[in-house]
């Protein structure tokens, strides 16, 4: 059975988020040959439409309004409801991002629909679509189905591969005018605390520090390694609790659950709560002075040694590689 599916595209620092391209791929699987319509919401966002088509969207609907410059649940809720009323989709896909997590339950409730959050894999079996998602922060997984009606999901970044870019693809880009009003929450200020570009949940490479990092300054060599690899810095609860870094960096059962291609754990012992947040990473490297540390049990590669010696050496080695390539 074919379905018409819409996918919401998000923009961060002037670029489409990778997860938005992954959402198109997810929408394609749910659509089973039906139409995939990407939705761009914001102020002056139309320029991104062609990239969405190149990555597999059949059409793009653009909703622009001055009140949509900053995300609010009311503003985006009204915009998405207008799109849903115009398009009457049978499926909706968001990224499992701050915005997606905040907005999807509201929209699902408005549409009297179920919602499968944080999907990492999609498969079709006898006409039914099955969604795999982590539970207990990745200590286990469940497969879910929707009991009829609208299929609404959010997809976790870095898990469902985006379709490769094909600039020869064409598709219609239309605008939908909406009336955005009565916003009950107003964004007064956005305080940028993270580095430009790489968000922890979407990063392909994460360099994470634990208690072994010893101080706020101790994160500097980790940041340098992350920079060379185009990655992001994360932390264990131990490092956050000790005040070495902000809680927004915390990876684990409380904190973020991440699945990068490469996870480099530096001075992290590997408490079960931390492992829950990162053990589904594709490749794990552990650097720790203690050869008995739990982290080595989940690591693909381990170096027993002082992170303050090993990490700078690694950075140098990767720098050399960059020069050569």
């Amino acid at each position: 059975m074919t379905r018409k599916v819409i996918s919401l595209a998000e923009i961060r620092d002037g670029s489409l988020r990778n997860v938005s391209l992954e959402a198109i791929a997810a929408a394609k699987t749910i659509a089973q040959g039906g139409e995939v319509v990407a939705v761009l919401v914001g102020e002056n966002v139309q320029s991104h439409a062609n990239e969405l088509i190149a990555h597999g969207a059949d059409r793009v609907v653009v909703v622009e309004h001055a009140q949509l410059k900053a995300y609010t649940p009311d503003g985006y809720g009204q915009a998405l409801m207008a799109v849903v009323e115009a398009e009457k989709p049978e499926g909706i896909v968001f990224g499992h991002t701050a915005l997606g997590k905040d907005l999807s339950p509201k929209l699902a409730t408005k549409l009297n629909a179920g919602l499968v959050s944080d999907v990492v894999a999609i498969e079709e079996k006898d006409g039914e679509v099955l969604f795999t998602r982590p539970i207990y922060s990745g200590k286990a997984f469940e497969k879910k189905v929707v009991n009829g009606g609208l299929i609404f999901i959010t997809v976790r970044p870095n898990n469902i591969p985006a379709l490769s870019r094909d600039d020869a693809r064409t598709g219609e880009v239309t605008t939908l005018s909406v009336d955005i009003k009565d916003l009950r929450t107003i964004v007064k200020e956005i305080v940028r605390k993270t580095a430009e570009g790489v968000d922890l949940s979407e990063a392909k490479v994460i360099v994470a520090g634990g208690r072994g990092v010893k101080s706020e300054d101790g994160f500097k060599p980790l940041q340098e390694l992350a920079d060379v690899l185009g990655g992001a810095v994360g932390a264990s609860r131990g490092a956050c609790d000790a005040g070495y870094c902000d809680y927004s960096l915390q990876i684990g059962q409380t904190g973020k659950v991440v699945t990068p291609d490469l996870y480099i754990a530096c001075g992290i012992s590997g408490a079960i709560q931390h492992l829950a947040g990162m053990s589904n990473s594709k490749v794990i490297v552990a650097i720790n002075k203690d050869p008995e540390a739990n982290i080595f049990k989940v690591a693909d590669y381990g170096i027993v040694g002082d992170l303050f010696e090993v990490v700078p050496l690694l950075t140098e080695e990767f720098k050399k590689l960059k020069v050569h390539s």
């Binding site: 649940p73 905040d102 997984f141 964004v187 007064k188 956005i190 690591a299 590669y301 170096i303």
Partner: protein
């Protein structure tokens, strides 16, 4: 101020997950208040202590949750309510839970509702915003600061590590992010007092709901454990050589660089 906290009883974060007959084995497992809900409880108590009023902690579940409700009372909540759906609902999802909570709250005139931003078991983060939408009130998720002045609220929200400062008004639902506060431990006098505080139990009937009204929209068809990770390779030799070998392995064997 009439304050409500939505609480969930969850597995202790220390617990390993064991699957028996397609279900997560709960036998012998330790349960706790969902860690994010502890921040919500703490914030509710602090708001009440500042502006006056009453904090009611509400959970949807079965009678096993009485223990966690008593803990919340011992922390300082004034009243607890268990909405026991065990006998009426076989399969539930976030739609179910939100519907039940909203039906309970709709005539209670809440000024402020707090919840954790996500439960560490199911991990969907849906119930808070769903309840707000059903009640027709605004919400702010993943908050790290809450200031209330009359019926105005200024909230700081964590957005993937950045901060948004948001102005809004009551009635309001907020969901707590780590860093909001430092949840207190129940004191001994608190534990003694908690035994005498009211803990009410209601069922679907009391909310004029029947099973069909709260029928789950989604269904779990399988639960499984991730493939066990093979023990990896511990590199040997001089540190500089280990580092070189590691980079080579990441390029040629793991192919992630």
């Amino acid at each position: 101020m009439n304050i409500f906290v939505l609480m969930k009883r969850t597995f202790d974060t220390e617990e390993k997950i064991v699957i028996n007959n397609g279900k997560v084995n709960e036998e012998g497992a330790e349960f706790i208040i969902n860690p994010y809900d502890e921040y919500a409880i703490e914030e509710a108590i602090q708001v009440r202590d500042k502006v006056g009023g009453e904090v009611t902690v509400v959970t949807v579940g079965n009678e096993d949750a009485e223990k966690e409700l008593r803990t919340a009372l011992a922390m300082g909540c004034d009243k607890a309510v268990l909405i026991n759906i065990e006998d009426d609902v076989e399969e539930s999802d976030q739609f179910t839970t939100a519907k039940v909570l909203a039906e309970y709250l709709k005539d209670k005139e809440p000024h402020l509702i707090l919840a954790g931003n996500v439960a560490i078991d199911g991990g969907s983060g849906q119930v808070g915003p769903r309840v707000a939408e059903l009640l027709g009130i605004p919400y702010v998720t993943t908050i790290t600061k809450l200031d209330i002045d009359g019926d105005k609220a200024t909230v700081v929200r964590d957005v993937e590590g950045d901060e948004e400062v948001i102005e809004t008004s009551l009635p309001l639902l907020v969901t707590a992010q780590q860093g909001l506060n430092e949840p207190r431990y129940p004191s001994l006098p608190g534990i003694m007092k908690a035994k005498k505080k009211p803990l009410d139990e209601v069922e679907l009937d009391d909310l004029d709901l029947d099973e069909d009204d709260v029928e789950a929209k989604t269904k779990t068809v399988e639960i499984f454990l991730p493939p066990k990770k093979e023990a990896g390779k511990i590199l040997q030799g001089e540190l500089t050589d280990q580092v070189k070998e590691l980079v080579t392995l990441l390029r040629t064997e793991a192919k992630v660089i």
